[in-house]
């Protein structure tokens, strides 16, 4: 009996290893993903904003990370900061200018692995009509089957910073910080 269990266990582990080694395409699950930013306000505290509408997909191959792909599109009009007049201001022509630039995009160009679960993604961020490279530190939290819906899923956390002035957003520089922290939490479902 012990031998049978051992054989089954070995087969399961081998299958799991095969699944993990093969490249898979994923679609971002908006209901479990978050894109936040933080920017200094007068040196007192950081204001937090988030985008509630975005989409994207990525291709992940744990055995060959450099061959991965990533493309994310964020609807700038979905910005929220918990204060309606500020939201209106930030969506206006002086900041995100959602009328002229309704989307910002991030397309990964360089994927580097640090260790089994961490790495960096460098990509081109197009924001406010300007495209600049931005590097994100990424932690691949988990790849596996979601126990609730039984779909293969992947989850990652990404952190990074950018200078808003690089993207032409220079209003109130000084009182409002130039460096913007990015906090990204992504859960994605494998494409069937």
């Amino acid at each position: 009996m012990k031998r049978i269990f051992a054989a089954i266990w070995t087969i399961v582990m081998l299958l799991a290893g095969t699944v993990a080694a093969v490249a898979a395409d994923y679609v971002i699950d908006l209901t479990h993903s978050h894109v936040l930013f933080m920017v200094d306000h007068l040196g007192f505290a950081k204001m937090v904003g988030l985008f509630t509408n975005f989409s994207g997909n990525f291709s992940l191959n744990p055995e060959n990370v450099t061959a991965s792909k990533l493309a994310v599109t964020i609807k700038t009009d979905s910005l929220q900061t918990q204060f309606a007049p500020r939201d209106k201001d930030l969506k206006g022509a002086d900041w995100f200018n959602v009328t002229e630039f309704p989307e910002m995009t991030f397309v990964g160009t360089e994927f580097a692995k640090k260790d089994e679960h961490t790495g960096t993604i460098t990509g081109n961020l197009t924001l406010h009509g300007t495209t600049k490279p931005v590097t994100l530190d990424v932690v691949l939290n988990k790849v596996g089957q979601n126990p609730l819906d039984k779909q293969n899923s992947a989850g990652l956390s990404a952190r990074g910073t950018l200078k808003r002035s690089d993207f032409g957003m220079k209003a109130f520089l000084g009182p409002i910080g130039d460096e913007v922290d990015l906090i990204i939490e992504i859960e994605a479902k494998q494409k069937s």
């Binding site: 204060f83 309606a84 007049p85 500020r86 209106k88 201001d89 969506k91 206006g92 022509a93 002086d94 200018n97 009328t99 002229e100 630039f101 406010h128 009509g129 300007t130 002035s165 032409g168 220079k170 209003a171 109130f172 520089l173 000084g174 009182p175």
Partner: protein, 289 residues
């Protein structure tokens, strides 16, 4: 109080206006003196947005700088040639070009609301540019002059500042206040040593810059209070209307000061209307501070 970035920028612009308007009094060239309000406006822009935008400009906010610059250059050529033949035509054409260029991204989608708003802006802009030209280049006896022209520009910017804030553009509010500080310094010189140099450069440069700001908030930020904005059109006529009640014995600088103050009187009406129409907004702004 001086650690407030808006006040700091306003103070710098005031000093700049004071220095430039004083310096041009040493130069016997009205076309150069007429550049000052435009230089003040452009400086206000740079201090507000911390940049001279790259050319070609991307986005409406960056277009503002080049609109003011290009219009001022056209005005400078006209002032240099001492011709007024094109004044009427330019009062119609220039606002049309400004509104058209700023609103272009919305027109591209066949946005009917944008076209209607742009048409109204064009009409209003033409009125403002035309009246700035008539009043600014006129004489005190005809209720005009450089001082009245600058007062009109100041009144337009002060009145538009809360409209801009309400319309989701605190940066435009800052731009207006900084420019007003610089123009205020120019007004002081105009009062002390009148120069009567409010030529086409001032009208087209500063006037077009202002119109570009209004167009950006209206067509791109798109949260404008149309009643407050429409009331701005009282400013180009308020001085002239008020002057009917001024006895002829009040003349010269005294008349210009009074006409200028009357041109600014609609500012109070704009602010009162905005407060009445949006009490919750201004209460929330106070709470934020």
């Amino acid at each position: 109080m001086l650690d407030n970035p808006i006040l700091q920028a306003a103070l710098i612009c005031f000093m700049l206006g004071l220095a430039l308007a004083g310096l041009v009094r040493l130069i016997p060239a009205p076309s150069v003196a007429s550049l000052v309000p435009t230089v003040v406006f452009l400086s206000s822009y740079v201090m507000t947005y911390h940049q001279v935008p790259a050319f070609p400009p991307v986005g409406a906010v960056n277009k503002i700088f080049y609109i003011a610059l290009a219009a001022a250059l056209v005005g400078f050529v006209l002032d240099f040639l001492r011709t007024t033949k094109l004044d009427r035509a330019l009062a119609v054409i220039v606002p049309g070009l400004i509104v058209g260029w700023i609103g272009l991204p919305r027109f591209a989608y066949g946005d009917l609301e944008a076209l209607t708003t742009a048409s109204a802006l064009w009409l209003g802009g033409a009125v403002v540019i035309w009246r700035l030209n008539v009043v600014g280049t006129s004489t005190a006896e005809r209720n005009g002059g450089s001082l009245v022209g600058i007062a009109m520009l100041i009144a337009l910017m002060v009145a538009f500042a809360p409209v801009a804030l309400l319309g989701g553009s605190s940066t435009s509010l800052m731009l207006c206040f900084v420019a007003v500080a610089g123009l205020g310094a120019v007004a002081i010189w105009e009062f002390l040593i009148p120069r009567d140099a409010f030529g086409a450069t001032s009208v087209l440069g500063a006037g077009s810059g202002f119109l570009a700001v209004v167009s950006t908030v209206t067509l791109i930020t798109r949260e404008i209070d149309s009643v407050g904005l429409a009331l701005l059109l009282l400013i180009p006529y308020a001085g002239q209307l008020g002057a009917w009640f001024l006895p002829p014995r009040i003349h010269g600088r005294a008349r210009q000061v009074l006409v200028g103050l009357m041109a600014g009187s609609p500012v109070l009406a704009v602010m009162a209307i905005l407060l009445l129409r949006h009490p919750e907004f201004f209460a929330s702004m106070r709470a934020e501070q």
